[in-house]
Symmetry: C2
Subunit: 175 residues, 2 copies
């Protein structure tokens, strides 16, 4: 490895990433990966709009939303498991949990099975917040599916398969 292993660096799409008329994109136009990046960028930005518009609290990133959903659906889950599920380091899951706790949405309770661990639980306020957020996110997603027409359903399946293929490629190459 040339230097520090950039393996887990962040991509961080930012502003709108759209084709600029008159610009030549070369290979990029042919790459599935670039099309994926553009789509992800657009959805990411739209996610915030959807939440803000709905009156939901800003600062709820897709990641924070995902964490809230996971805790809601897996009451008592450990922080470390949250980290694993979200592809984060333990310290990252800590920050995430801190933030959710500061919002009053999540609670750390003692884990009866292991005194080192926390069990994460939604508070009543967390359930209310999630309910609103989930509604907004669902509507947002539905609108996209609608815009895609009949291909929408297949797209989701294809993306899941793509994630699988890319991961398998990694495993093969690494292992």
């Amino acid at each position: 490895m040339a230097s520090k292993t950039p393996s887990t660096e962040g991509p961080a799409p930012e502003g709108l990433l759209l084709p600029v008329p008159g610009l030549a994109y070369g290979v990029l136009d042919q790459l599935l990966g670039y099309a994926l990046r553009r789509a992800q960028n657009a959805l990411y930005l739209d996610f915030y709009r959807a939440i803000a518009q709905q009156g939901g609290p800003a600062e709820v990133s897709p990641q924070r939303f995902a964490a809230l959903v996971l805790v809601a659906n897996n009451p008592g889950m450990r922080q470390g498991l949250l980290a694993q599920a979200m592809g984060l380091h333990r310290s990252g899951a800590l920050r995430l949990t801190d933030w959710l706790t500061e919002q009053g949405w999540v609670e750390r309770r003692d884990d009866p099975a292991d005194a080192r661990s926390w069990g994460l639980h939604l508070t009543a306020a967390g359930r209310r917040a999630l309910s609103k957020l989930e509604q907004a996110v669902r509507a947002h997603d539905q609108a996209l599916l609608l815009g895609l027409g009949e291909r929408g359903a297949g797209l989701k399946t294809d993306l899941e398969r793509l994630a699988w293929v890319a991961t398998a490629a990694q495993t093969n190459r690494a292992g």
Copy 2:
């Protein structure tokens, strides 16, 4: 807007973001957006592997690769245009250009039409580097398409459409 407009915040997927067996994902499993995030995450990580494996210089992120391609295909393009094409602030394009220049891949020349601007150009080394990188990236992308079978081609089209739909949704909502 509720607070500071998080509009252009970075998502920064990190480690591998895969379904953890036994964990309940709730809505996430139903969301196109989450499937997209997972796919993007997997491809992003695989991109580095593909480049590193091919012997290419590490630290070449998808973004840096894209910038290199853009400069190659639009000789003399201004930094500001690069920023626009990549959804970045001017200062971000500056850093990006600085890095490419440090690698000896890109050169800033005076823009004959506007003394305030630079014209960005690939160096000979840049052309060589791009040639190697492009080969690796193309192979990487091809492997993914292959893994997807007949749905691969359609997927790219669908993603482009999805980006368009999400962007239109934003514009409608904002405007």
